[in-house]
């Protein structure tokens, strides 16, 4: 797995680590049960702060991509269909919110939107 830390963009370092490990997991480059480098060693190898690396791992654990076994290290979590579903639901919700933001400008009511959605899904 490659992790590239760039100082050129404004993306916080912990997000860069989070994003790169996450995409390695989603693309199956890292497989279920694979051992991740220890927080301390990863930080020292990348020459970044231990605290920042820990923050990235904490986020990955919170979002269910990795799990921490105390004394053993961090592993890639079971690919949980529930989690992937959750992520998709979140995305759908996000799109709904955008629709609700734009709708008042066209004077659309909720019923109008539901009607519109029905028509579109029948077309599909």
């Amino acid at each position: 797995m490659n992790i590239i830390i760039s100082n050129a963009n404004n993306e916080p370092i912990y997000e860069q680590i989070y994003r790169q490990i996450k995409s390695a997991i989603i693309s199956s480059e890292l497989k279920e049960g694979d051992l991740l480098p220890s927080i301390r060693n990863l930080a020292k190898d990348l020459r970044i702060s231990v605290i920042t690396t820990k923050r990235a791992y904490d986020e990955l654990e919170k979002d269910g991509y990795i799990c921490l076994a105390i004394g053993k290290g961090s592993f890639v979590a079971e690919k949980n269909t529930e989690i992937l579903r959750e992520a998709h639901l979140k995305e759908i919700e996000e799109h709904f919110r955008i629709i609700l933001k734009i709708a008042p400008a066209c004077k659309l009511t909720v019923d109008d939107i539901i009607e519109m959605f029905k028509i579109i899904s029948e077309e599909e």
């Binding site: 100082n7 050129a8 404004n10 916080p12 370092i13 912990y14 301390r40 060693n41 020292k44 020459r47 970044i48 702060s49 231990v50 605290i51 920042t52």
Partner: protein, 281 residues
């Protein structure tokens, strides 16, 4: 656990006062002390090691008060490197090994000669003929070879060339792979500290201006350059400090409080630190 705890440390001499210094160095981390020449960094380090008596305040190192009797024994666990290396001038690296062997109960001969080799130091040249870089590297080799848990370094990388500095920073970086190892280092070369520190403690004219996680500082603050009329469009509560320059303003802002439309400079630690104390025109 904290490897160093400093509470309300105060010391006055004549016209200089180091006032109310408080900070902690969590175990397993690297704390950088930043400040201009004469800011009080070396005074702070001397107070921590109790080679200078504090007027007020408390210090505990590796869980032991620096005023207690145990602190003398504890020094076997603390590696200290000051900005000047003091070894007898006629000794060479081999002689120094023979002496240190008798002083430190945890002296590790193999590790010492490994560092000597790693730093390309000569074995038989006498100390007097060492360059400044070689002297510093020898001090660091000695400090690391009695297996300390804590390293305290005062301007250990100043006056060295970038290659040697980088080599030394690498060694410090490796030292903290062990989570029981911590480092407190002072420097006025902010880019060095930016490279390896987990936390930054900024002292200016004897006063503590900030203690913060380094990456949070870089995430939280940014420098913006503006003309006067643009300055008024900036939310008041986002401004940490503004400096008038000859042609406009340089403003230190909290990133999360400004509109994304403002062009934020690619901000380094040095820019943030300098803007906090710089005088305008």
């Amino acid at each position: 656990m904290n490897s160093i705890e400093v509470k309300n440390l105060t010391k006055s001499f004549g016209d200089f006062t180091l006032k109310d210094l408080s900070f902690n160095v969590p175990s397993g981390t690297i704390m950088g002390l930043v400040g201009e020449n004469g800011a009080g960094k070396s005074t702070a380090i001397k107070l921590i090691m109790n080679t200078l008596k504090a007027d007020n305040g408390e210090v505990s190192v590796l869980g032991v008060s620096n005023l207690s009797k145990e602190f003398t024994n504890l020094k076997q666990d603390i590696g200290v490197v000051l900005d000047e290396a003091y070894f007898p001038e006629v000794l060479n690296a081999k002689n120094i090994n023979n002496i240190m062997k008798l002083i430190y109960k945890n002296w590790n001969e193999d590790s010492y000669f490994e560092y000597i080799k790693k730093f390309s130091l000569p074995l038989t040249k006498i100390f007097k003929d060492f360059s400044r870089g070689m002297k510093m590297k020898l001090s660091i080799a000695v400090a690391l070879s009695y297996n300390p848990k804590l390293l305290i370094l005062d301007e250990a990388t100043s006056g060295l060339d970038p290659m040697v500095r980088d080599e030394i920073l690498d060694v410090f970086n490796d030292f903290t792979r062990d989570e029981n190892h911590s480092i407190l280092l002072s420097s006025h070369i902010i880019s060095d500290l930016e490279k390896i520190c987990d936390y930054i403690c900024f002292i200016h004219k004897g006063k503590l201006l900030l203690v913060e996680e380094k990456d949070l500082l870089l995430e939280k603050y940014a420098v913006i350059k503006l003309a006067k009329n643009q300055l008024e469009t900036l939310p008041k509560d986002s401004i940490v400090r503004k400096i008038r320059t000859s042609f406009g303003y340089e403003v230190l802002v909290q990133k999360d409080k400004i509109n994304a439309a403002f062009r934020v400079e690619n901000t380094r630690l040095e820019d943030i630190i300098l803007l906090m104390v710089k005088e305008g025109v």
